[in-house]
Symmetry: C2
Subunit: 353 residues, 2 copies
């Protein structure tokens, strides 16, 4: 970890009395507020309301949330812990549908609960240990993504990114932004163009904030300016994160990503995805099977603290879209860069499951 | 005019004591407020601040504003009126750089001032008459655009539009929306998808409002959802307005239009521009010569009553972009549809200047 690390999610204390502390990302960039979650329901709400967001960070937060849930019936015996953990993971799975890291992390918590345990307390300790492992592994994966991706950035390049795939979207350091951070730390001059990312402005609020605090040159644009920035030759590559990647490489990410990928192709620019192996869902063949979350119309009509559309207007507000593998120049993982992107190269880099 | 008409801009009273009344579009859709401009400076500010916006409406407002300016030294003699009018049109030309209707309307006011006049009062009356002509001609052009364009809309189509090219962008009835209004009035079922159009949300605030008040089905989306809506087959055509069209058909329009045109091409959808002949600037060969207004970063960072980006972040905020003629399936004018779009077909439909 560097001094620039962000404590996006962390566990405070021990398994029996500790709690989850997270940065309330809905308050950034104007307020820096931490939220302590001592109950399962608070974690569910934090994920649902995007107080914590980004596929890897959701996975880590959910794992810690499962520990909170697992002790909700006390820890008199292993069965009580297992029962409570099972209910907790089932509940947390309903918080958001698209990011697969959520389900991946909860599967690991379920498996840890199923192991042999001496007593309830040690079962809880094992669950916290598993959550901490998920957390630590995510940190390591982000660093490795940065290392693999930095080699793709040529000096002086402009890099467009969409939404936030930084330290705030992971346990620390990020995925798409990890590539940028690592290249910059190696002394590669670069300039980032950050799509503001409507409706919830993760690019304006979070990505611009992360880049500025690290001293990396960043220019904020509205989403609809990306094509113009490309036409003017201001960017030479695009890097984004991912919420779920199918077996063939089709990638779900924040709404607008698919459009950016098409614009990149129209301007002959490479479009990269950066994501850990935990974001791959190789049980589904392609992007058509990825569930896309539909969110509250008020995110669009009342997003800035006041009403900006006619009362009662019909709104379409999908939170994600799917970019087909053929638009993706490469997927930067902790195990290396998958390029070109197809089921075979994914298996070659990540192994066959 | 129908009952659905919008009094976007109108002159109240006579030439010597009347004033310009306009809808303050920055207050829509939550407040319906009219602004009375009795001084030239108020008109300049209204155009600059987008209280009145849309290329044709800017032209009409500027013409009336020139009348206010022309009487600022009284009307003791023709020379005083001419002198004041000259200063007024020069000043109004500095309000916004891209929409050519502004310059076109002010050229007409200058020419009207240069005619022979009996005395100062009759010079002012002639100037008001010219402004009223520009106003009336714009209404007629919009209706004709609607008639020509309606034939392009097949029953049951989804139509995507960007920004606002409706009654609020013109003296009445609109350009891109005129096509939609006319098709709908003829009984053609259709559904509009309105890009919200960051940063100032003309699509959310104005287009959705205009369509709803006419009972036309409309769904509001964020700009970055356009690609997804196209991919899902929800729209079959795109229609937008224009701020300036070069001799070869390259078209400046609200930022984001160029991106939408590229996305339409990627999905095989026709992309139409609707604009009156007054929006053509045939003195410039192509879009490279169109000046693009850069606007205040605070429109992006503080757009809606609260700060949504880090303090002091660098922002790129071009108000317009240029869509190359080759991406445009046709330009719908009051004289007919220009298709394919090139210098020759433009001359054939509009005449050789």
């Amino acid at each position: 970890m560097t001094n620039d690390s962000i404590a996006t999610v962390r566990w405070v204390g021990d398994a029996l009395s500790g709690f989850l502390r997270l940065i309330d990302q809905t308050r950034l960039p104007t307020e820096s507020v931490e939220l302590d979650c001592r109950e399962l329901s608070a974690v569910w709400e934090a994920i649902r309301s995007l107080r914590v967001r980004g596929a890897p960070a959701i996975g880590v937060a959910a794992a810690y949330g499962a520990v909170l849930g697992a002790r909700s019936e006390g820890w008199l015996d292993v069965a009580a812990v297992r029962r409570a953990l099972g209910a907790a993971t089932e509940y947390l799975r309903t918080s958001r549908p698209t990011a697969v890291n959520l389900f991946w992390a909860l599967d690991r918590m379920d498996a840890a609960a199923a192991e042999a345990h001496r007593d309830g307390a040690s079962a809880l300790e094992r669950l916290l240990e598993e959550a901490r492992r998920i957390d630590e592994e995510d940190r390591a994966m982000c660093r490795a993504i940065g290392r693999h991706g930095a080699a793709l950035v040529a000096p002086g390049q402009g890099i467009l990114t969409h939404c936030n795939a930084g330290g705030l979207a992971t346990a620390d350091y990020g995925t798409a932004l990890a590539v940028i951070f690592a290249a910059f730390e190696q002394g590669t001059p670069l300039h980032v163009f950050a799509d503001e990312t409507r409706p919830l402005l993760q690019g304006a609020r979070l990505t611009a904030w992360e880049l500025k605090r690290r001293g990396i040159p960043v220019t904020l644009i509205c989403d609809n300016m990306a094509a113009q920035v490309m036409k003017e030759g201001k960017v030479q590559m695009v890097i984004v994160g991912a919420d779920r990647i199918a077996a063939n490489g089709d990638t779900a990410n924040k709404i607008g990503t698919y459009g950016v990928a098409l614009l990149a192709r129209a301007h002959g620019l490479p479009f990269y995805v950066a994501a850990p192996s935990s974001t791959f869902d190789r049980a589904i063949p392609d992007g058509a099977a990825i569930p896309i979350e539909q969110r509250d119309p008020r995110e669009v009509t009342h997003g800035f603290g006041r009403q900006t559309a006619p009362e009662g207007v019909d709104v379409y507000n999908p939170a994600f879209d799917v970019t087909p593998a053929e638009l993706i120049a490469g997927i930067i993982t902790e195990k290396g860069v998958i390029r070109p992107v197809n089921a075979q190269t994914i298996s070659e880099v990540l192994g066959s499951r």
